[in-house]
């Protein structure tokens, strides 16, 4: 445990020292992941479906705020959808405008949640996000997870109903619009997942805010259990039991990630809890102070107290140094 705490301190110091480079590096890597996934999942526009474009966009994102990545990713998705069908692109644009006007405008600081949710959805383990967001952020951020989820379900819906969008007959324009809208309206799985995510985040938030010992630990376990139960029961009711294994894998990963987050952001020593009580003119204060677990970094310094061993010099070097003939050394 002490080793882990030391590692945490080292990581914190490292991040503090090289914050600019680390943040840019993380954004660059995330950018590569996001833009490559969009290309692999949609990839209808050949000009965009190239590694050079992915690298260029990632490089731009590395030096801009994370919301720039969200905007560029939306743009990339819309261009791919445009190459597939104008109707799918129009509905995609409507979706992004709605998400921006109805949610993004009020809480613009949740770019990471949106992006990570969509990425994890592609890897089929988005269960990590609601608990992590519930632990680290306030209720205003929980809808960002849903935004990422909705975007993923739309793209998956388009992918699964490609036939509806590839028809060339002009009279089928309305049918294409209806097909795109049906991705949202008839998608019970989407509603189940979104509801499970939102309820989980709220449960985690409500428990972790309680003044009880091990609040975060309890919150993460109860949150993950709630999510597991809602999703499993929901999938059984929807007759989609093949998803159960993925849900289980996602929840296991979520537990691991939540424990790591707890270790990094909320590692408290409940054996040294202090309770103090005081008053001022207007209030009585009952304060519970829980110290953070902290280990000072060991600074190992090796100080040589014996003289450094001289490296054996060759005959010629020694003779040159002593300014004598080399033969005299025999």
């Amino acid at each position: 445990m002490t080793g882990l705490l030391e590692l945490r301190e080292k990581l914190r110091i490292f991040y503090g020292k090289y914050e600019l480079y680390v943040a840019a590096g993380i954004k660059f890597m995330l950018g590569i992941l996001v833009f490559s996934i969009i290309n692999s999942q949609t990839g209808y526009m050949e000009q965009l479906n190239q590694m050079a474009v992915v690298l260029l966009l990632s490089l731009v994102c590395a030096f801009l705020p994370v919301n720039a990545m969200v905007v560029l990713a939306c743009g990339q998705i819309l261009l791919h959808l445009y190459a597939l069908s104008l109707e799918a692109c129009a509905i995609g644009l409507c979706l992004f405008v709605l998400l921006l006007f109805l949610y993004g405008k009020f809480a613009p600081e949740n770019g990471y949640s949106v992006i990570l949710t969509s990425v994890l959805c592609v890897f089929r383990v988005p269960q990590v996000m609601p608990v992590a967001t519930g632990m680290l952020k306030g209720p205003s951020a929980y809808l960002s997870v849903l935004c990422g989820g909705v975007t993923y379900f739309y793209l998956r819906g388009v992918q699964e109903n490609l036939v509806n969008f590839t028809s060339t007959e002009e009279t089928e324009g309305l049918a294409k619009f209806t097909a795109a809208l049906k991705i949202f309206i008839g998608n019970k799985e989407m509603y189940l997942v979104l509801a499970a995510f939102f309820i989980t985040s709220i449960v985690v938030y409500l428990i972790r805010r309680q003044s009880i010992n091990y609040a975060w630990r309890i919150a993460l376990f109860v949150g993950n259990m709630t999510e597991l139960v809602i999703l499993i029961v929901g999938y059984i009711l929807l007759d989609m039991t093949d998803q159960a294994l993925w849900v289980l894998a996602g929840i296991l990963l979520s537990v691991v990630v939540s424990l790591v987050l707890e270790f990094f952001f909320y590692n408290l020593d409940y054996s040294r809890v202090e309770r103090v009580q005081f008053e001022d003119d207007e209030y009585y204060y009952f304060v519970k102070a829980v110290p953070k677990v902290f280990v000072s970094r060991k600074d190992k310094r090796v100080k040589r107290i014996t003289p450094k061993k001289r490296v054996a010099a060759g005959r010629r070097e020694l003779a040159e140094e002593l300014d004598i003939d080399e033969d005299l050394l025999d």
């Binding site: 509905i91 409507c94 405008v97 709605l98 006007f101 109805l102 405008k105 009020f106 309305l174 619009f177 209806t178 809208l181 049906k182 309206i185």
Partner: protein, 139 residues
């Protein structure tokens, strides 16, 4: 000689200006009422556009059965029902906007108060330094 305390405070202020200050400083250019009204007006426009998009999507989705839907219904009644839905939608978003932007203004006020307190401290330290400087030169 360098005044470490003043440099520490100035670094703190510069850090604030490049991070939270970027968001808070423009907010504090307005009075509370003006800021919230302005943001609520912007929300009115965006929520109207959002309602328009939702309505359009509904019309497209129901296009085939729209004739059946309208049969036996008076057009003004349908319009009134849509207007009521629009009004409710706008009201909900106006309430959300009021709470969100009041909170944002309150947060900006609190952090800017701290910023100005630090600024005053820096000014005082600078004045003190300036008072001391001539006497040191004279020596």
């Amino acid at each position: 000689m360098l005044n470490e305390e003043r440099i520490r405070l100035m670094t703190k202020m510069a850090s604030y200006e490049t991070r939270e200050g970027k968001e808070h400083m423009p907010i504090k250019q307005y009075y509370r009422r003006d800021y919230i009204s302005y943001e609520m007006m912007k929300t009115f426009v965006t929520s109207t556009i959002a309602f328009g998009i939702l309505f359009l999507c509904w019309v497209i989705y129901k296009m085939d059965s729209l004739a059946d839907f309208l049969t036996g219904k008076e057009l003004p009644d349908v319009a009134v029902s849509i207007l009521i839905k629009y009004a409710v939608f706008i009201c909900i978003y106006q309430v959300i906007a009021y709470f969100v932007y009041s909170r944002r203004y309150k947060k900006a006020t609190a952090s800017m108060r701290k910023y100005y307190a630090t600024l005053k401290k820096v000014e005082r330290l600078q004045e003190k330094e300036e008072r001391l400087q001539p006497s040191e030169e004279w020596k």
